[in-house]
Amino acid sequence: MSLSTLFETIQEKFGKQIQSMHAEHEDQAYIFMGDPDIRPITEYLRGEFQARLVSVFAEDRRSREGVFFNYYVFEQRGDTQFLIVRAPVPAADPRFPSLSAELPAVNWQEREIQDWFGLTAVGHPNPRRVALHDNWPDVHPLRKDFLIDTVLPPFEGERHIYRPALGEGVLQVPVGPVHAGTIEPGHFSFAVAGEPILYLQLRMFYTHKGTEKLFEKLPIHKAVFLAESISGDSSFSHGTAFCQAIERAAEIEVPSDALIMRTILLELERLCNHVADIGAIATDVGFVVANAHASRLKEMLLAANEQLAGNRLLRGMVCIGGVRRAWGAWQIELLRVAIEAFTREFRDLVALINSSESTRDRLEHTGILKPEIARDLGIVGVAGRASGIDLDVRRDHPYAAYPSFSFKVPIYQAGDVWHRLQVRVDEVQESISMIREAASRNLSGQFRVPVPPIPPNRCALSAVEGWRGEIIHWIRTGSDNHLERCKIKDPSLNNWPALVEAVQGNIIADFPVINKSFNLSYSGTDR
């Protein structure tokens, strides 16, 4: 049975706790609970349907409905519909039962709810702050009565207490937030015994810039640009996820040519990032020449990006209702030429890497993420597929023009750096053939439709397979071209804990390459 047809069963089994159930849009069904305790239904959905808990987030509805709501988004393999369970959290007694002990995947997400909304996750195995650092005052920024421009007192020092690493010869190595390379900020605390890493503790959210709160302040058409700035390397994916959510809420039909153009640009973004990561992984084991070629290949694509979108990161191209500009025949031709040149060069790059025994030797059996751990932690995207997690939003919840393309989803079980590299190599091939096919279609039709006023109080969920993995945007529209709530989930948020598992037992000198093989976005995590 699919999730979408389970209303009757649910009614029978949980009738007393259920307030109402309804389908909204073609790919979303909601179950409104009357009871904050979602443990029984969660257990049932996970057990009976092998449903996966995709995301957990909260909303402050005190002013309208007198309560907070927690949302639990589920999906089931083979069913394109998302099932969203909504549970009330009373304003007078803001507590909800934690699922983290059984479901480590929601560990950080529940703690975000604690920090940002001031709701307590009862029974959480590690209820310490995660999204707001320990030196923040007692504020809950996503509550409606917290104003976005509140000036907080200056923060003093780092008050976070790291778990001590004890034992003879055991050392603690602190790294960050400012790193040696040109990368984003975060703090890593390694416990090492000699060279091998015993344990890694992460401290993220250094780049928290109030993004979700800001979505509630900006008019919707301007918020598209904020979505593009959630994670710069995924500008187009996040921008598209956001526009899709608005389009769903306002029932805007995007022209088919615009959907194909979006698909091409989404795949171009994937190519740019995958080829850069392949080069960067090679660099981190000393194969600098491969990176020189990889970065040259990336530049070829960035030049094409600029021709197609006016911007190297594909910014300012996606818009609500389609894309902002049409392409002339010469642009399509240019894209074709660029892709053919890229294909030839990419073949050489892969051959170069495969010819280097020492590179392969360093990458194989390094930073292993075991499939069972990946499943428990809810790992998604490239990192998941290298560890046997067969998920891909493009196939599981098709959007843009993906229903009309066939592509393979590469799955490996080994879960080491080499296989995370292999997933990227395979996906580059798939993207190339999709772009080739898309570019051969006639794209002279309509590329955008006018946007009607966005109706208030509509909810919509949108999912996009960014190059890194599953991106989720959930919105509730408000009045006057504004949003009441915009929840962003970047795949990085799921995947950071995987890094902790993957580095254990590896030498500290291999940390950079293991980290690079995940290449997670700090900004996407921290928002």
Partner: protein
């Protein structure tokens, strides 16, 4: 090894000639929006569309003061779409780096028609005219010393103070064989103790304020600070809020500002070379119709 050499020889030299020759950018590249203030009938639609408030206006009695701030601009091009008569045009110019934050701001004053459109352009000013002269000359002296000491070779420490990682992608590109910043004797270093220049991105989050300050203090004198991108200059789309301070110069003194969202690698090169006195600021024409 033979394969590697073969591939290298076949590939040949790929490094750009910028800045000795102008950069090749695509025909569709969105650079600086240029404003024909005389032609501009109404600034309000463009201001309404602008996602970061880079275009703003204020009315007093029957006149309007319009402000354009390239330090906030994310180069989306919506202002040109919203302004008829081609009063706002998107150019391919990207060399906007400057030592003077004020010079990124243009203002125009208009008298108004009854329907709120512009009637007469009464004044245009480019940059801040009343910059403190003393501060300027002190700054110039310090810059001279720095140019003498660091002009030939430079070590850069990069700090992400809360960026979306877009600027980082372009900064990393400076090290690739196309832009190859090492050809200028400039390289990125791992520690602020080895650095002459701090290249800072992001709106400076509250959580990065202390780390940025500590990194700055750890650098030996003389030192330069370059603020990168709309966020680094002004907070960009994030602006100032409970978690964001709204620009690098809120925390450390900035020598050069590089607009862009993100600035393309050539724009970064221009800004960095400008900071060490190896390039001059570009003057752009504010009145393209004349």
């Amino acid at each position: 090894m033979f394969k590697i050499l073969q591939k290298t020889i076949r590939t040949g030299i790929v490094t750009t000639t910028y800045p000795s020759k102008p950069a090749r950018v695509s025909d569709h590249f969105r650079g600086r929006p240029s404003f024909d203030f005389e032609k501009w009938q109404d600034a309000r639609p463009a201001a309404d569309e602008c996602p970061t408030g880079a275009i703003s206006w204020r009315n007093t009695d029957d006149s309007r003061k319009v402000t354009v701030d390239y330090g906030l601009c994310v180069f989306c091009g919506l202002c040109a779409e919203a302004s008829p008569d081609q009063a706002v045009r998107i150019t391919k110019e990207f060399e906007l780096a400057t030592a003077n934050r004020g010079s990124l701001v243009l203002t125009a004053e208009y008298t108004l028609n009854a329907d709120g459109t512009h009637r007469n352009l009464s004044a245009v000013s480019h940059g801040c005219a009343n910059a403190d002269a003393d501060v300027e000359s002190v700054g110039a002296k310090a810059r001279e010393t720095i140019q003498k000491l660091l002009g030939r070779s430079l070590s850069i420490r990069e700090v992400d103070a809360g960026s979306c990682n877009g600027c980082e992608l372009e900064i990393v590109a400076l090290n690739n064989p196309i832009y190859d910043i090492e050809r200028f004797g400039i390289h990125f270093v791992a520690s602020p103790r080895h650095a002459d220049m701090l290249l800072v991105t992001g709106p400076v989050t509250r959580n990065m304020e202390l780390a940025l300050l500590k990194t700055y203090r750890a650098m030996p004198e003389p030192k330069l600070v370059v603020a990168v991108g709309a966020c680094g200059i002004s907070g960009g789309i994030f602006g100032e809020n409970y978690a964001s301070l709204g620009g690098v110069d809120k925390v450390v003194p900035v020598d050069v500002y590089i607009p862009g969202c993100p600035p393309r690698p050539q724009a970064l090169l221009q800004g960095i070379l400008l900071a060490v006195g190896r390039l001059r600021e570009k003057r752009y024409d504010e009145h393209p119709s004349r």
